[in-house]
Amino acid sequence: MSGPLSSPWLTIRVQFVLAAVFVVAAVGKIADPPGFAHEIHNYALVPGVAVNAMAIALPWLELICGLALFVGLARRSAARILGVLLVVFVIALGINLARKRPVDCGCFGTSKVEKTTEERLRDMKWAIARDAGLLLLVGQVLGATRRDAGSGL
């Protein structure tokens, strides 16, 4: 990537935006792990035995990666992990959308607002669009910091 899209000025701001989104998302879930476990279970994609471990650990992974992006430490690895998470979120939402199974996204913690099936399905589409937008930001960070890449992927 070259030109204005890979400028340090833009990259640092994109990092901050990604960091802010994931830190805020993580805090809501860390505050209520049972609520997040409930949301994960509702997706009907994760085996029951793995639901709790995912609900406990995933928000912390989002928080740590978000903070890493914020301070610019291991930012490529953090961005890649967040990118993988976003792809997983999009697939999980997409599968349930295809099943016409309305689920609360759970992206920013537990929703206390009662929603209709139609509202939930509409929100799922918006969540997919938002995650796709965040994936573009991850792509910008990875593209602009390619020269920092060492061994490994």
Partner: protein, 197 residues
């Protein structure tokens, strides 16, 4: 700037996250704590019943009234072949009047905001759920007596999940209040707030 190694950094980030998560979970109070290994039944449709017992209400919407005098003799026999049966608000009101055990499967914070008067909190999502279920067993209750469980009605599956847990420890007359607490409120039936049943 130091060159990054994806795998080394990724492993460090994941390890740090798991460690922080473990400490956080260890320090969490009972409402926030989770067991690392969950024991949730998969979301399943209601058990098929060739011929519902006389006690079990059909899935048809219940009239918004208190149980009629004609229901007074209604029986709710055990159903050891099925983990749970769904019942209506009328049946729940009848069972409550008879002193049946009623369990609220919603989160305890939601329970405190309002619950069926007399219902006990047993949130299926909180870490002590299995202990509480075993506690019910240890109380020496008649396991063939009706136990009503409810959550928020609609798409809420918590009551069914709790019913599964109760069935697994031997309760064989678990009845799920299908329409849940919102229906109870609509009927203007007794509601209590706070931690006490």
């Amino acid at each position: 700037m130091r060159r990054e190694s994806f795998w080394r950094d990724a492993v460090a980030l994941v390890a740090l996250s798991v460690a922080a998560a473990a400490v956080s979970n260890l320090a969490a109070g009972p409402e926030r704590k989770l067991r690392w290994v969950g024991s949730y039944a998969e979301a399943a449709p209601p058990p098929s019943s060739k011929e519902p017992p006389a006690a079990a209400a059909s899935a048809a919407p219940a009239p918004a009234i208190s149980p009629s005098a004609g229901d007074a003799g209604k029986a709710f026999p055990p159903h050891p072949d099925k983990p749970w049966l769904e019942i209506s608000g009328d049946d729940v009101a009848l069972l409550r009047d008879r002193g049946a055990l009623i369990l609220d499967a919603r989160r305890s914070s939601v329970y405190r905001d309002g619950h069926i008067a007399g219902a006990r909190s047993l949130s299926v999502w909180e870490a002590d759920a299995d202990d509480k279920v075993r506690g019910l067993f240890a109380e020496g209750r008649d396991q063939s007596a009706p136990v009503v469980v409810y959550c928020s009605g609609g798409e809420c599956e918590d009551s069914h999940m709790l019913a599964e847990k109760l069935y697994r420890v031997g309760f064989d007359d678990v009845l799920v209040y299908k329409d849940g607490f919102p229906d109870w409120q609509r009927r203007n039936l007794p509601v209590a707030k706070g931690d006490a049943p």
